[in-house]
Symmetry: C2
Subunit: 336 residues, 2 copies
C-alpha cells in the first residue's frame, strides 16, 4: 500500500536509500536505516511482490505439481499431509506455493510455460499421473530448480520415502510372527510399486521364503475395489495365504469388507497389513499393522532442498534424501 517512494518522502531520503535500508545493505547509516525501518513499519509498508519479481527475476514463489486426477491426488491423505508440510516449510523460507497446471485460462500452456509465466523460482513435483509425460520431462530438463518426491530425475534433487526399507521391515515382522504364506497385493505400475515389489521379493528370498506367483497380485493405490477383487482371488486359492499385504491403508478397506463377508475374522483367521500409516489405519479395529511414511519430513525436506537449490543458484543439485519409514505394529497380524 505504502510504497518506497512515500517512505522516502516521509523520511527525507531517496528511494534508493529506503530500498537499501530495508534490505540491510551495507552502505546506509545506522540511524537512517533505523528511521526508515520505523517509518516503514508505521506506514504499513510491504514490498510489492510484482515489482520486486520484475526487477530481481525472483518471485519467491514455488510451483507445485500435483496430479490432476481426482481419484488419487489431493484426496489421498498421504499427499495432503505432504503438501501441508511442504507449504509450511516453504513459507518458513519465504516462499509461497502456487499450483502449477496446464491449460490455465483459455490458452493452453505446458507445465513449463506455466512456471515461466509465474516466474516460479523452483518447482516441486509431488505426484503426477505419468512421470514419462513429455510435459513432465520437459520441466525436468529445464533450467528451473526442481525437486521430485518419490522419484529420481537425472541430475535433479529428490526426496524419497524409503519404501525398500519399509517393505523389508514389514515382511520381516510378518515373518517373525510366524507367517510363511505371505501374499502381496501391490499398487499399479509406478516407480513406488516397483521399489516395494523388488523389496518384497528380495526380503522373501533372504528369508528363504518361496512365494508362489498367485500370491502376488496387481491392485491399485487408493482403490478399495481393486483390493477387494484381489482379496477374493486370494481367498479362493486352494492354499490360502495366512497374511495379506495391501497396497495402502485406504485400499485395504476393500479387502476388509471381502474378508468379513467371507465370514473370516482379522487377525484370527487371516492377518493383514497396510502401508502409509495414515490416521485411518489407527482408527480401524483391529488397529492396522502398517508402515508409516513420514509425510511431514518428506514435505519439509523437499522445500528445504528446493530453497537451497534456489539460493545457491545451482539449478542442478542432484541431492538425494532418503526418509526412513517406520513400522507401526497394530493388532492385525496374529502370531502363528
Amino acid at each position: 500500500m505504502a510504497t518506497i517512494k512515500e517512505i522516502a518522502l516521509a523520511c527525507g531520503v531517496s528511494a534508493a536509500t529506503v530500498s537499501k535500508a530495508l534490505n540491510n545493505a551495507s552502505d546506509v547509516g545506522a540511524d537512517t536505516a533505523q528511521r526508515v525501518r520505523n517509518a516503514a513499519r508505521s506506514m504499513g509498508y510491504f514490498p510489492n511482490a510484482a515489482a520486486r519479481a520484475l526487477k530481481t527475476n525472483r518471485s519467491h514463489n514455488i510451483g507445485l505439481l500435483f496430479a490432476d486426477a481426482t481419484n488419487s491426488g489431493l484426496a489421498h491423505e498421504f499427499f495432503s499431509l505432504v503438501l501441508n508440510s511442504l507449504k509450511e516449510e516453504a513459507e518458513r523460507h519465504g516462499y509461497d506455493v502456487t499450483f502449477i497446471s496446464r491449460d490455465i485460462g483459455l490458452t493452453n500452456m505446458s507445465y513449463l510455460e506455466h512456471c515461466r509465466y509465474r516466474r516460479c523460482d523452483g518447482v516441486v513435483i509431488a505426484t503426477v499421473l505419468d512421470w514419462t509425460d513429455p510435459q513432465v520431462t520437459e520441466l525436468a530438463q529445464s533450467d528451473i530448480p526442481l525437486v521430485a518426491i518419490d522419484y529420481v530425475f537425472d541430475n535433479r534433487g529428490s526426496v524419497l520415502s524409503d519404501n525398500v526399507q519399509g517393505m523389508r521391515d514389514l515382511v520381516k515382522y510378518v515373518y517373525s510372527m510366524g507367517h510363511r504364506k505371505i501374499a502381496f497385493i501391490h499398487g499399479d505400475r509406478t516407480a513406488v510399486t516397483k521399489m516395494r515389489l523388488a523389496s518384497f521379493h528380495r526380503t522373501c528370498d533372504e528369508l528363504g521364503l518361496k512365494i508362489p506367483d498367485e500370491y502376488v497380485i496387481e491392485g491399485a493405490f487408493h482403490e478399495p475395489s481393486a483390493s477387494a477383487r484381489a482379496t477374493r482371488e486370494l481367498l479362493s486359492l486352494p492354499e490360502r495365504p495366512t497374511c495379506i499385504l495391501y497396497p495402502d491403508d485406504y485400499s485395504f478397506l476393500g479387502g476388509m469388507n471381502e474378508i468379513e463377508s467371507a465370514g473370516l475374522s482379522i487377525p484370527d483367521d487371516i492377518s493383514v497389513c497396510g502401508f502409509d500409516g495414515i490416521h485411518l489405519s489407527q482408527v480401524l479395529r483391529p488397529r492396522l499393522t502398517t508402515v508409516r511414511q513420514k509425510t511431514e519430513q518428506l514435505g519439509s525436506e523437499a522445500s528445504a532442498m528446493l530453497a537451497e537449490a534456489i539460493e545457491s543458484g545451482k539449478t542442478f543439485l542432484p541431492h538425494r534424501i532418503v526418509v526412513p519409514c517406520e513400522l507401526i505394529v497394530g493388532e492385525s497380524v496374529k502370531r502363528i
Copy 2:
C-alpha cells in the same frame, strides 16, 4: 522468455502494437495482429506475470485461506475436494491459486498483508479455525474481493452447503424408516454445527418427536475418538437410541468401533448415519447412509463467484449461493 520487445523487433513494429495485438485491442490491423500472434507463438512468448501485475495492478492470482491446523484442514477429504474443484475452476477463469498464511519468511504478516504483498485479486476463505479471529475479520473488511465457503460475512459473497436441508432430509428419512429415538452427536461449536443442530431440532419438532437432552451430545468433526466417547455414553443410557447421527463420515469410525466392541451389529441392533458423503462412506460395509455435500460444486461456485466479483470491479458482492445436499441411502439404517 521471449519478451514483447523481441517480438516487436522481429515483426518490425513497436512494443505497443505487439501488446495490443496480443490483447485483441481494436486499433491494430488484422494482418499485423496475425503476424504478431504467429511470431509470439513461434517464439514461445508468454507474458511476464510480474510485469503485467505491476502495471495493471491485477495479479491473476487468488489467495486461498485454509485452516492452519493439521488435524482437520487439508487432511479432511471434504476440504481436499473443495480445494481441488476450486483450483480447477479458478484456472478456467485464468487465475492461479496461492496459499495465504501468516508469518511467511521471517517477517510476520497478517493474512491481509500477505494478500497485499502478493497482490491477490481476490481471496477464498475455505476454512479457518476461528471465524472471529481478528486477522480473518480484518481480511473480510478489507477492499479485496472475497468469497467465503460455508460462512456468511456481512456484505460478502458466500457459497453455502445446505446443511439445513441436508439434515432435514436425513432426519425425515430416518423417521420414515420407523425410528423415533434418534440421537445426534454433533460437531464442535462452529457455524456449520449450529445450522445442523438447529435443523435437527426443528425437523424433530415438525415430526412431533420429543428428543431427550441426553440424545444430543457434543462430539468433534473428523475425530473418531470424540465420536467413540459420545457413542459410549449413548449406549449406556437406560433407554438407548435406535439410530445415531454422527458429525461426519470419518468420525463415525470411532462410533463404529464402539458399537462393534459392545457386541452390537449395524444396522440390526442399531442404525447409524454419517454426514459428508466422502468416498469412505461408500466403501464401508454396511454402506453408510449419509448426506453428500457437493464439494465440486462448492469449490467451483466459489471460484466463479470470486472471478465475477473481481471482473465486475465490485468488491462487495453479497451474493449467496446455496448448494443442496444429497441424501445417500446406504444400508446402515434398518426399517423398524
